[in-house]
Symmetry: D2
Subunit: 244 residues, 4 copies
């Protein structure tokens, strides 16, 4: 039996990344990248207990060597496996401060986590996605997670918006270069608060006012299953009561 | 047994509209609106033969009385049926001419078919969609079909782009007003040539260079099934080789 | 002595239109179009008293015959005069209502005043602007006035946003078709409350919170004086304290 | 006599930066920042010979210490002078390559030159611009130079577009934070080839197909003179024959 194809998900914590991992693990082996093993360990165990195949790799996406090493480990562990999907869903670099209180480190950390992190991740993933085209059930897919700040540079968001705009530029550029080569590159704008443990305390006037990580994952899976005749590049996801 | 919920699709021909009708007919009764009965008759027959429920109603979306009368007919035929989805996928108003050769009639026909047509359709559909919220399996959904010209006013497209920009404004405005009321309003930007009988002769350098109407329909269905925590407003769909 | 070149300004009331008229009257004869003569009469008198040359023509921009007749009158009155600039600054069609309270008339009036009005105005003005290229001091210029609703379809703005999006599409399309022919087509997004008699009662927390019509006019004049090497298409103007 | 106010222009070579310097030198002392003294020396001499006041400071905008040291030098040389305008017009970081040929250094250099450079420049300039508000003839102004790649991530432009998107996000964020404080922050999208010595050999089908640096400078000056009632944030400048 041919080995299952693989999905790599960078930025796995208790939120969107975990839901994406569970969704893609229904069809693929999954490699879960997060800085802190506590972020992926319970999930790896959960997926493996439920009949899936998961490994976790401690990775700092802002550090090129760390990303390289993660992909080397993947290559060793899954030597004949095709890369079906690569999801860049980084958590780092968020900062909200008046501009004159931002430090240079705030600014460069945001860029390193989101923009440079996306660059390195894409450089490692794209050769594998290109190689997987022939035998793939769905076009090999590279998805980047965006935010409100991907489209709007609000006051106090100079660092995070710079990083998220840059990541979106990267995604657009890759979609235009690799789409015609058969790799589906997408960018999802997540516009609202996600319903994760960290936001449990955020109370809203309306029910259902937080994004469901599972529903986000369903949309990522939908993007992945689109045939090459009909690729979506961008999707904006928000709760029904969100102001935009 | 409760009657099946209903989907109304305006603008049904041999292309996207037909695929949407087939997709939504798997779960719902469908009412298919088109000016010319030859556009819906074979499809109505096909769906009914395959165990679905379809009716066709001859409707000119640019004519308010005609749209009103279609919705009256729907109300009579399906008195207790909930409206699950309304899709505005109009075909009219396309015109490509140097600006000084456009007639006033070209311009107003484009606006009437797309913008005013969308307005009338939404005014009839929204009260029904609001009424269907309680018992609906998925949030009641109103989807508008856009085009490249929804985002870019190209030379020689003054009339069509005006109409498609207007339709997108309508969709945005409705999403912001009715989203918080639990109706999912979306706009799909169809950016490329669709693979339909009329475009069979269009030959491209690459395979698969035309949008698949069935894949477009799958994306519309995906939009429809999103929970209210996680609504997408806009989706851009194009063939992998399309320049954009 | 050669006759002064001409500027035509449609939509002249006590606000932006008047300031544009005064600004362009420093260099050109001006023809001022407004539905109601009380809107242009004092201004015509003021300009003529100050050494300028102005005429007013009662015109309903939503009525094609009325626009045609205005341009015929201009042709008669200024048979040898070159059209240096045409400004479409229409006031009609504004309406803010919950969608289900909008009437068909609200919707079509908005489209007729803004979109179709812009279409007719451009069809009459462009042949004259093209003819004026040779001898013009600055590239002949066609400017459309937009609004916040040109870029965002907000709740309760379905009609006005549809019309303003359509007008922007028209402007884009004309810029792409006539720019390369040497006519400068621009669109100005006026994002905020303008300081005019009608808004005197609007009190804001901060000083200077309303747009200055004279400053808007200065920006229109700046657009007009750009050489063809360096055309701006779009400009967004707002008070320093405006949220956007 | 009060000392003339000051304008600081970062990114001065034989193109746009030089034209901006000449334009602002008509009203202000100018401090010209460029990595290489050969880029500013002839210009400093020219401005000083023509009755203006100019100094050049060798500065690498991608190096925080270098930017800090430039502003220290400015503070020493013009201790009582108010900063009227700061223009960030960086030349570095341009790279056009297939994505898999881009090096990490290509990517981080682009971000450092444009995004981080803009961040550092703004951090030094904004306190001075805020201090200058009271006595300023025009609202103190911070202008960033963008490019086609500020709005569109094209194939082969992943690095440059990331950097230019990030710079635009920075500009937006600063406009929203410092506009309400009376500092005018703008972003100009320069969309086309600029007519400078380096592009003399680029031959186009049409005359005047390159942007005039002097006309760009006139637009920057126009932005600077806008009152706070009527700030433009963004302006797109292109030759009349440019495709967009």
């Amino acid at each position: 039996m041919a080995p299952k194809a693989l999905a790599v998900i960078a930025g796995v914590g208790p939120g969107t990344g975990a839901s994406i991992a569970r969704r893609f693990a229904k069809s693929y082996s999954v490699a879960l990248l997060a800085r802190n093993p506590t972020n992926y360990e319970p999930l790896v165990q959960e997926i493996n207990s439920n009949g899936g195949q998961a490994v976790g790799i401690s990775t700092d996406v802002s550090d090129t060597n760390s990303v390289n090493s993660a992909f080397e480990q993947i290559a060793k562990q899954y030597p004949d496996t095709k890369l079906a999907a690569a999801i860049f869903n980084p958590g780092g670099g968020f900062v909200r401060k008046p501009f004159l209180e931002l430090t240079e480190d705030d600014y460069t950390t945001a860029l390193a986590s989101q923009a440079k992190g996306g660059f390195t991740f894409a450089q490692r993933a794209l050769p594998l996605l290109l190689k997987a085209r022939e035998s793939a059930q769905h076009p090999p897919t590279l998805i980047f997670t965006g935010a409100t700040a991907s489209l709007k540079g609000s006051a106090n968001f100079a660092a995070f918006a710079s990083a998220k705009f840059a990541l979106r530029a990267l995604a657009q550029s890759l979609a235009r270069e690799f789409g015609p080569q058969g790799v589906h590159v997408s960018h999802a704008v997540i516009d609202g608060v996600i319903d994760i443990p960290r936001t449990k305390g955020f109370v809203f006037e309306h029910e259902d006012a937080k994004l469901s990580p599972d529903a986000i994952a369903d949309s990522y899976w939908h993007l992945h299953t689109q045939p090459r005749t009909t690729f979506a590049f961008e999707l904006d996801l928000r709760p029904y009561v969100e102001k935009w």
